[in-house]
Symmetry: C2
Subunit: 216 residues, 2 copies
């Protein structure tokens, strides 16, 4: 059941002006710090699950973790990832950096799936994590309904696939409302960051949201 060597996990990361849809509650500097906090949570979970994380960035960036190298590729996300996959001889995990709720258990469940490709959907037709056993036989196609595209790419390549059912991995953080999930379920740096800048839960007409206190 256990992998002979650590699974390589590649994490695309945008250090500059990320998460612009959060601009209503965070300025650019805060969004950059928040993106680093979410990345830190993803890296922690990967390492706990025995994976070897590596960043993919268009600009030089250090996560501050000496175990985590950064590959620089200035091309578009799909081109850069597909170039990376074409160079790999062993199974690869492709995981987004905005999944701060991801747990080591969820990652272990994904990398122990028996199919050629494990696909973790995000909401709205997205793909949040991919586990690709034969990286040279698969290619990624993000944007739009990428979940459907990845299913089709696997089928066209004659590769089996399995959909991995995980709320924590399906929860990507893009909008203010998504922060609710971190405040309720998070246990890491992202949650602490939100608390530090005064973002907390609010209850309006029975529905849970977030608000930013005006104390600072």
């Amino acid at each position: 059941m256990s992998a002979p060597s650590p699974v390589h996990a590649i994490i695309p990361f945008r250090p500059v002006n990320p998460k612009t849809r959060l601009s209503t509650v965070m300025d650019q500097e805060e969004r950059e710090a928040f993106a680093r906090a979410m990345l830190g949570d993803v890296i922690s979970a990967l390492k706990d699950a025995g994976c070897a994380p590596c960043l993919l960035s268009t600009v030089p960036f250090s996560s501050g973790d000496d175990d985590v190298a950064t590959q620089i590729d200035t091309r578009d996300l799909n081109e850069a990832l597909n170039a990376y996959l074409s160079r790999q001889q062993t199974p690869v995990l492709v995981i987004m950096s905005d999944l701060p709720l991801v747990t080591p258990d969820a990652i272990r469940r994904l990398v122990s799936c028996s199919a050629d490709v494990g696909i973790v959907p995000g909401r709205g037709g997205g793909t949040n994590v991919l586990y690709i056993r034969k990286p040279q036989e698969f290619r990624v196609d993000y944007y739009g309904a990428s979940f459907c595209d990845h299913v089709r790419i696997a089928e066209d390549a004659g590769l089996s696939y399995e959909v991995i059912d995980s709320f924590f991995m399906s929860t990507d953080i893009d909008e203010k409302e998504d922060l609710v999930e971190i405040l309720i379920h998070g246990q890491g740096r992202s949650r602490r960051f939100l608390q530090e800048i005064g973002i907390c839960l609010s209850l309006e007409q029975g529905r849970v949201g977030v608000q930013r206190s005006a104390h600072e």
Copy 2:
């Protein structure tokens, strides 16, 4: 690992004028038919997972499935469910009827958890499914951030709990945007119903949504 007798699964159901937030894309009659379709998907998954489903409704209603009885209780959801729990001697699953993506595998994962209470969060602090081993020692408190309330109730009662990580069970269908998930991931009656009334995926500026064709 396997339970000696089928787990009783209670499904609160509102047959009349349900899912009012879907009014922008369905009239009342359609919303009632759609709610029955989602209920049908939930019942199928429960039966496939070896559970014995039972409905809880404020008005007389038949699911059309002879195996599925309806308990009528005119009280508020929490009162009705807590009265039900207080009468049970064996483990109980409480599952919402608007989870059409729920799979037998996800239910099996929930009922095989070793804790006293298995909690499946919904988005926004909700609780979508509960597995309660000792129903007389627990009580439910839906509405608001019920996930946090259920954690606290378990802790206060000295019961262990486990959070079950499932995208399919966390996906409750309340709003138009949620229908995307059924069209992408659904395989049952709910998906067929949406297709029959002409609801299909749309792609606007790279984001996946739904639209209703004007053919009818």
